[in-house]
């Protein structure tokens, strides 16, 4: 008898869940139809089901993520650059570490790595020593330009013509 009651409850709850998902739920009609109009326990379980259902809306993954993964898996679609991807991740250390981990996973699965922007791509493919040298050259270049700008400014300020003009 108890077992039979359990099966009846399982059936009404299953129908209620289907109706919820289909968007045409009528709790009172279901309770009447299955002979549970005065069963507060069943009514309460239906209310909990309804609340749970509304607490879990479907989410959509971002288009950038879907496009990048599609391209990585199949080679089709628009490739997403590393810079775009990092922008998508709203650059932070943890995100960078995850991306690195993903690169490792991809390599072990024999999949292509995430694409980099062209300048960065070139830099990435350089040997380590050359990367250091390139980094130092760029830094030195920046300092050289900055010092020239400063020197030119000082020369202009202290040149005889400048002195005459100020006098």
């Amino acid at each position: 008898m108890h077992e039979h009651e359990d099966v009846r409850i399982q059936n009404i709850l299953a129908k209620h869940a289907d109706a919820l998902i289909n968007g045409d739920v009528n709790v009172e009609a279901l309770l009447q139809q299955h002979g549970f109009a005065h069963n507060e326990r069943v009514r309460q379980m239906m209310q909990i089901a309804e609340q749970t259902y509304h607490l879990m809306p479907r989410v959509e993954p971002s288009e950038a993520f879907v496009a990048r993964l599609r391209h990585d898996l199949t080679g089709y679609g628009q490739p997403v650059t590393m810079l775009e991807w990092l922008r998508h991740l709203q650059w932070d250390r943890a995100a960078f570490e995850r991306t690195l981990q993903e690169q490792v996973d991809r390599l072990s699965a024999g999949l292509p790595q995430i694409h980099l922007d062209k300048p960065l791509d070139r830099f990435r493919h350089m040997p380590f020593g050359m990367q250091v040298a390139a980094g130092l050259t760029i830094t030195a270049g920046v300092f050289w330009i900055a010092s020239r700008v400063r020197r030119d400014g000082l020369l202009a300020a202290y040149s005889p013509r400048a002195s005459e003009q100020s006098a």
């Binding site: 998902i21 709790v27 879990m56 989410v59 971002s62 993964l69 898996l73 199949t74």
Partner: protein, 210 residues
């Protein structure tokens, strides 16, 4: 003039696509990817509670599926159930490695209709939702999975059974026991659920764009 067109992947069954993908047909795997990306993402998102981990793990699910597709046996479980099992294992590892159980932030999921029309109800609803979420978090893993597959993925009991490796009847029974457990848990804390949320429409899918 003869028009040459490629295979109609869109109308192929999963089983056919899997056979082609096993032979290295990338567009066939691409079609499977399109069919399941959102479902797998949702599953992982609700098990991890944040977008970044959901993306990482979803990517790993499909990467693993692609590398192991030759091992997939279509006589065993449907392809979708196989994918969910990969997702389930990866999420379980993630929980084990991180020793944590996260859940979605509630603020994101209050129906906008309630927020706009009845701001005085918001605090009450949020409290109810918090209690309900807390109760869901206390549930064993298979029951949380069941709620997810039923309400987010909208799968039938038969489909859920294939993923969890149980019969349709066992899923109906598990669903009943899950709701009963939630009712007991909330009742023990003196919380009587009301269906005020249920009168509003379920929120539209939430989009996580960059």
């Amino acid at each position: 003039m003869v028009e040459i067109s490629g295979p109609d992947y869109h109308n192929m069954t999963d089983a056919r696509l899997v056979r082609l993908a096993s032979d290295g047909d990338k567009p066939a795997f691409g079609e499977l990817y399109e069919r399941y990306i959102t479902r797998i993402y949702n599953y992982v998102y609700y098990r991890t509670g944040n977008t970044q981990d959901a993306e990482d793990l979803t990517a790993r699910v499909f990467t693993r599926a692609l590398s192991n597709i030759q091992d997939y046996d279509e006589r065993g479980v449907p392809f979708s159930a196989w994918l969910y099992r990969i997702a389930h294992n990866l999420v379980a590892n993630w929980h084990r490695d991180n020793s944590r159980r996260k859940i979605i932030p509630l603020d994101d999921f209050l129906p906008s209709q309630v927020l706009e029309e009845a701001p005085e109800m918001v605090a009450e609803l949020r409290e109810e939702q918090t209690h309900l979420m807390e109760s869901i978090k206390q549930l064993p893993d298979d029951r949380q999975q069941l709620l997810l597959l039923k309400f987010v993925e909208r799968l039938s009991n038969a489909e859920i059974g294939e993923i969890l490796g149980r019969t349709e009847g066992a899923i109906k029974s598990l669903y009943h026991r899950t709701l009963a457990a939630l009712s007991d848990h909330l009742g023990a804390r003196g919380i009587v659920p009301n269906n005020s949320i249920g009168r509003s429409k379920k929120p539209e899918p939430k989009k996580y764009s960059s």
